[in-house]
């Protein structure tokens, strides 16, 4: 029950304030138990607000940092068509970041503060984006596996109890499906190409398979906050549940690609009716999350550079806006 998770009313409140807090709590509880939506100006427990702010801002940062591995390949895309597609995808990821920053702002955090935290290395983002994209086939594997895992995660988030988050996710999910399909197509073309191209595709799948499974987060017995998030209707399915579903989908799709998944332990458990996969290196996951992945410092450095190099554009825009306002005033 959601009501068990609410904090007790702080003692220093006046009787009227306490009454208002209690009424707010009762209202919040009812909204959650009816599986309805909380909006930014509604009363909400501080822990709910913090959890969401952390999750949404981390999600926004992931979209923004996630532009980098693919942006790397824009100038080296093998054809004009692939270059246009990749640019559209990277532009979408920027958009996703902006939708999510807007949603996070409704919880009382300024965008500038979130940006500062990111370039100061104080904010987290998905561990997956700290892996390098070393061949063109990685553009295929990222689209197919990384965006595929993201979609699996994000579709249930469209029903998250916090209205602005759910609405941002609806918009994002609509755009994501092209991301996964274009990745699948890249791999399919390579797989049907020369033996070297096919090998390049297989190696990319081998590289991205385990990190993409880890995108769903630690195993359920090592994911202390999941229960609370599920009680608040932020999260709808556990990490392991989503991971298992994802494995089941990939098992079928990889056959169409004519490639294999680098996991000999994949099996469908007839008893639990769930897909199972081989062991994952959770120490690696923790290391990458703690900032010691292959590309962590490079990613943050690149983001900082982009932010600083863009300062003159922001200044010019403000100066231009001021000038236009003065002109209008004079006219």
């Amino acid at each position: 029950m959601a009501s068990q998770n609410l904090q007790s009313v702080p003692a220093e409140l006046s009787p009227e304030e306490q009454e208002r807090e209690a009424a707010g709590k009762a209202y919040f509880d009812r909204i959650i138990s009816e599986d309805s939506r909380i909006e930014p100006r509604d009363w909400m427990p501080e822990a709910y607000r913090k959890t969401l702010l952390r999750q949404i801002s981390q999600h926004a940062h992931s979209e923004i940092i996630g532009m980098q591995p693919e942006a790397n390949w824009i100038t080296r895309a093998p054809s004009l068509k692939r270059k246009s597609i990749l640019m559209a995808k990277v532009q979408d990821e920027a958009g996703h970041g902006l939708y999510l920053y807007s949603a996070a702002e409704t919880l009382g955090q300024t965008r500038d503060k979130m940006m500062e935290d990111l370039i100061a290395g104080k904010a987290r983002y998905s561990s997956i984006f700290n892996y390098p994209a070393i061949s063109w086939a990685d553009m295929g594997a990222i689209g197919w596996l990384v965006d595929g895992a993201a979609i699996c995660n994000q579709v249930p988030l469209c029903r998250a109890s916090f209205g602005p988050y759910g609405r941002a996710m609806v918009r994002i999910c609509k755009e994501e499906s092209f991301h996964q399909r274009q990745g699948f197509e890249i791999l399919l073309e390579l797989s049907n190409g020369t033996p070297e191209q096919k090998q390049m595709a297989q190696e990319a799948v081998n590289r991205w398979y385990a990190p993409s499974l880890m995108m769903f987060g630690p195993p359920d017995d090592d994911s202390p906050n999941s229960k609370q998030s599920m009680a608040w209707n932020i999260k709808r399915f556990s990490n392991d549940e989503l991971r298992s579903r994802f494995v089941g989908m990939m098992v079928e799709q990889v056959k169409v690609l004519g490639l294999t998944l680098p996991d000999k332990d994949i099996r469908f458990n007839e008893e639990t009716k769930k897909w199972e996969h081989g062991p994952l290196d959770w120490n690696e996951f923790k290391e990458v999350l703690a900032g010691r992945g292959p590309c962590n410092s490079q990613r943050i450095e690149r983001r900082r550079e982009a932010h600083e190099n863009g300062a003159w554009v922001r200044e010019a825009a403000v100066a231009y806006a001021r000038k236009q306002a003065q002109k209008e005033h004079a006219a």
Binding site: Q7, E17, R20, E21, G24, E39, P40, R41, D42, W43, M44, P45, E46, R49, K50, L53, R54, S57, Q58, A88, Q91, D92, G95, L98, Y99, S102, A104, E105, T106, L107, G108, Q109, T110, R111, D112, M114, D117, K122, A123, R124, R167, A168, R171, E175, A311, R314, E315, A317, V318, Y320, A321, R322, Q324, A325
Partner: protein, 128 residues
């Protein structure tokens, strides 16, 4: 890692959206010297096709209305989602108080006779 929450803020502050006022028209010389004034927040409304109303799509930051419109086009209509866009400074929007939901919307309560379903005697009568 430090959470993004703002521990200085009391729980009840979650009932207010922090909206920054557009700074453009009202900048003082002191603010002009500060080289990175934050861009103000704009709410974006998109008309998806002719004949439909503008619907709230989301928000964005921009230094003025002209750039807010351009940013809105790039952010919210990358796939022909709209034929017209409105941008409104977020601080210009007045809204009903979320704490007085009951009281504010009380008047239609108990006024079933405003709905066609209230009138049952005419059931079965054609074209009525």
């Amino acid at each position: 890692m430090s959470p993004h929450g703002n521990p200085e803020e009391p729980a009840s502050s979650a009932s207010e959206i922090k909206r920054e006022a557009p700074k453009v028209a009202a900048t003082t010389p002191a603010e002009q010297q500060h080289h990175e004034a934050p861009w103000s927040l704009w709410e974006v409304f998109v008309r998806s096709s002719r004949g439909l109303s503008h619907v709230h799509a989301g928000s964005l930051h921009a230094p003025d209305a002209a750039m807010a419109l351009r940013n809105a086009r790039d952010l919210y209509t990358r796939r022909n989602e709209g034929v017209s866009i409105w941008v409104v400074p977020a601080e210009a929007i007045s809204s009903s108080d979320p704490d007085s939901k009951g009281a504010f919307f009380e008047s239609p309560q108990g006024k079933d006779y405003r709905h066609a379903t209230y009138y049952t005697k005419s059931e079965g009568v054609k074209h009525l």
